[in-house]
């Protein structure tokens, strides 16, 4: 088999024919509305022959070149993710009939496609997005199916636009791996390289001659010239570390004055993968469906969480999130850069913000390295939690056995299921709980029982109101268990301090029960419980029973109370800020509002508890639960997947930091 073949220019349709004969529809570049876009092609005549694009920050203009080349345009507006990660896909269809509910996945069988004209940078982007979407055993089945159904015909660049910087991102312009076929366009035809088993029969069917050495040489020289033209515009070496320590750079505010937070950069980015799920239903809420669409960290709603809070209220925060994610925390998460240097975000920014300039200003090579905000991750990225059976579309139907009123606005649903994965839940994990027609909140597990789970839910919005209004016999759809639970083993042989605020006691109850189940393996056990008022205390009878035990210390405090309350009043840290115990022997588990956890962590540290032994569970907008929707990112972490339980040491200064 020769190293390369030659396909005469006028025989390009034969290649198209071979791809069609392989059962594929062809997607490739064509002209629409003043730009090159990737769309379905019926013949090679629809390619943008003789057209190129001049790009600059905030500007893209087609121009006629005068020659007959088909692939002289840089990259199209739309990236290939439109086909591997469509902007909108239906996810589930649900039906609710009396108390029964059915939720089914409606993911489509993806079409077999051939991507013709994939650039080296885009090939890298496909790989990067695949790692993000298919990180580990869980991940997104739709993306995997679409990616698997695509055959890639890459085309090496013979020109560069002013916004290209693949050279700096080590993603091009040469195509070195990942494609099935690689074309190099010369004036009279294409040098064709076969780079995968799938490519072999396609080329074999064409009966091409071997490429002549001079043809191969011209192809090589051509792409080498492109490398020269682009140069090395971004100092990528050490960039991730420099950015990580530049979180307080004044330039973030300056760029935020120009940034429109319109999200265009993220949507044209070939690696950005964030999504949101919308719910639709009929007027009775009986037939409901969900669909997933592209979303962006530049939108305010993306950082919204419970309690009218938002983790990235300012445009500055959102720009910083995007840029540091692309160039820095992506390494922590996936072991690579999130940028391939395609330059789309530069050209398609409506006000011409150029990431190359921003990077040079915010993280210059000469920048002094400040303290590292969070501990470095291994070079290959963080290992995702094992979530083998959890996908965004897999639901388990559980039945409400009974409903236990807890406080005026919260109840415990005792759910029954025989799903093994759900029953295998560990303390500290959570489940996504869906009622058709409602949004899907993450709910932490408040008890793990044989044959089921307890969920303690406070009514604070329509979805939780609907859940707390359920009665015995009703059904809910669960996805989970999700997240990394409490590391109870780490506390064996040590004292245990449990600090709970409000509804935060719910995810701690399984820890308490697990520890008491093996009481002799632990030292002193101390429970510190805070609540808003005496009426808002959770699991009162159980806690009173614990307080009666000699081997457990229980103290509780409320924020405010009337004269009838003779217990303690104040904030939860007052329960132990003057206590006599030695924190160095203790492991602490903390859950409550973030502000309360911050104060608790400080007080625990003052009491000598090591930051590696202070564990807390964070609240973010967990939506997919498996790290593919992007909502719950916090620095290098996906809270849903890497947490929600973290040690204070793991979080570093990311914990409690504004705007992350």
């Amino acid at each position: 088999m020769p190293a390369a073949y030659f396909l005469p220019r006028n025989e390009l349709d034969r290649l198209f024919g071979a791809l069609v004969a392989d059962g594929r529809r062809i997607v490739g570049p064509t002209i629409a509305d003043g730009a090159v876009v990737y769309d379905e092609l019926n013949s090679s005549a629809e390619l943008p022959y003789g057209r190129t694009a001049d790009t600059a920050p905030g500007s893209y203009r087609l121009r006629t070149t005068g020659d007959r080349r088909a692939f002289d345009y840089g990259v199209a507006l739309t990236s290939w993710k439109r086909f591997t990660h469509p902007s909108l896909i239906p996810l589930t269809r649900a039906h609710r009939d009396a108390d029964r509910i059915v939720v089914e996945s409606v993911l489509e069988e993806p079409p077999k496609l051939a991507f013709v004209g994939v650039r080296a940078c885009e090939l890298a982007a496909l790989g990067i997005q695949e790692r993000a979407m298919r990180a580990g055993p869980a991940g997104d089945p739709d993306h995997a199916a679409r990616r698997d159904a695509a055959l890639i015909v890459a085309v090496e660049c013979a020109m560069a636009t002013s916004t290209c910087f693949c050279t700096s991102m080590a993603s091009g312009p040469e195509v070195d791996h990942g494609a099935d076929l690689v074309l190099s366009e010369l004036d009279d035809g294409f040098v064709v390289r076969v780079e995968s088993d799938a490519g072999v029969p396609v080329v074999a069917s064409l009966g091409l001659r071997a490429a002549a050495p001079d043809e191969v040489e011209r192809a090589t020289a051509q792409v080498a010239a492109v490398r020269e033209v682009i140069g090395d515009p971004v100092a990528a070496n050490g960039l991730a570390a420099r950015l990580r320590t530049a979180l307080d750079h004044p330039r973030w505010s300056e760029v935020a004055e120009r940034c429109l937070a319109c999200a265009n950069c993220t949507l044209v980015c070939p690696t950005c993968f964030c999504t949101s799920v919308g719910v639709a239903s009929d007027l009775d809420g009986a037939d409901a469906s969900t669909e997933r669409s592209w979303d962006s960290c530049f939108s305010l709603g993306f950082g919204r969480v419970a309690g009218d809070a938002n983790f990235r209220p300012k445009v500055r925060d959102r720009y910083r999130q995007w840029l540091t994610h692309k160039f820095s925390t992506w390494w922590d998460q996936f072991g690579s850069s999130g940028c391939v240097g395609c330059g789309r975000c530069i050209a398609w920014c409506p006000v011409g913000i150029d990431v190359r300039e921003e990077l040079a200003a915010i993280a210059p090579v000469s920048a002094p390295t400040g303290p590292i905000p969070w501990p470095p991750s291994p070079p290959e990225g963080r290992a995702p939690a094992a979530l083998a059976t959890i996908t965004p579309a897999r639901h388990v139907i559980a039945t409400v056995r009974s409903v236990v009123p807890e406080t005026a606005d919260s109840v415990t649903l005792r759910l029954a299921t025989n799903d093994e994965a759900v029953l295998d839940a560990r303390p500290g994990q959570f489940v996504m709980v869906e009622l058709p027609a409602f949004a899907t909140p993450p709910i932490s597990i408040s008890r793990i029982r044989p044959g089921g789970l307890d969920l303690t839910i406070r009514s604070a919005g329509p979805a939780t109101a609907a859940l707390t209004g359920l009665v015995a016999g009703a059904q809910v759809a669960l996805r989970g268990p999700l997240g990394r639970g409490w590391p109870i083993d780490a506390a064996i042989g040590r004292d245990v301090v449990i600090v709970a605020g409000g509804i935060g006691l719910a995810p701690l109850r399984p820890v308490i029960e697990a520890i008491l189940g093996e009481r002799p393996r632990f030292g002193a056990i101390r429970l510190y419980l805070g609540a808003r008022t005496p009426r808002d205390r959770l699991f009162v009878a159980e806690m009173n029973a614990l307080a009666g035990r000699a081997d457990v210390e229980v103290a509780e405090i409320v924020d405010r109370a009337g004269p009838e309350w003779l217990g303690q009043v104040g904030i939860v840290t007052q329960l132990f800020d003057q206590a006599g115990w030695d924190g160095s022997r203790a492991t602490a588990f903390v859950c409550g509002p973030e502000r309360m956890m911050q104060a608790t962590a400080v007080t625990l540290a003052e009491r000598g508890v090591n930051p590696t032994a202070i564990w807390l569970t964070l609240e973010r907008n967990m939506a997919c639960g498996v790290g593919t929707c992007g909502h719950c990112q916090l620095g290098p972490f996906f809270v849903c997947r890497d947490g929600p339980v973290f040690s204070v040491a793991e979080l570093g200064t990311a914990f409690g930091r504004e705007g992350l």
Partner: protein, 158 residues
């Protein structure tokens, strides 16, 4: 109770635990132990606060009167901590009502005598005022956090 015994009592409290032996001794000489039955009002909001107290055992609730309404407990004082710190202010007017919500024992220091003693002894003053400052600062922080009403049910995005 003898002064020496009071020294032991004070040594066991957070408030006095870090004082030098000498300082504790001098402090003990100024104080006396008092037992309060449940329900005893130990200091009344708006009235002269005569004594600074250190709770030895039991619990004292600090309450504010709501306009036209019930009392609201805003803080409880635990063993080791102080109440009636207004007693050492130039204008010793109590800012809240202290009620023993269970049988409580406390060491009481007459405000005027204490002020005179502290004025005369800079080392003791530095130690005592420092301790008071920590206690008051903690309460200030706690009050601010309570103001945030962290546990209120907020709107959820779902």
């Amino acid at each position: 109770m003898a002064t020496r015994d009071l020294t032991t009592v004070l040594d066991a409290t957070w408030f006095a635990a870090d004082l030098t032996t000498e300082a504790t001794g001098r402090l003990a000489a100024l104080g006396s132990l008092a037992d309060f039955a449940e329900g005893t009002i130990v200091v009344r909001e708006g009235e002269v606060c005569e004594s600074l107290g250190v709770v030895v055992s039991g619990r004292i609730a600090l309450r504010l009167r709501l306009p036209g309404g019930q009392d609201r407990t805003i803080l409880t004082v635990h063993p080791g901590d102080v109440f009636g710190w207004s007693a050492v202010l130039p204008q010793p007017i109590a800012t809240s009502t202290g009620v023993a919500v269970m049988p409580t024992t406390a060491v009481l220091f007459d405000g005027n005598r204490l002020k005179l003693a502290l004025a005369a002894d800079c080392d003791l003053a530095a130690a005592i005022y420092g301790r008071l400052l920590v206690s008051v600062a903690r309460r200030l922080t706690a009050t601010r956090v309570q103001l945030l009403d962290l546990y209120r049910p907020g709107n959820e995005p779902w």
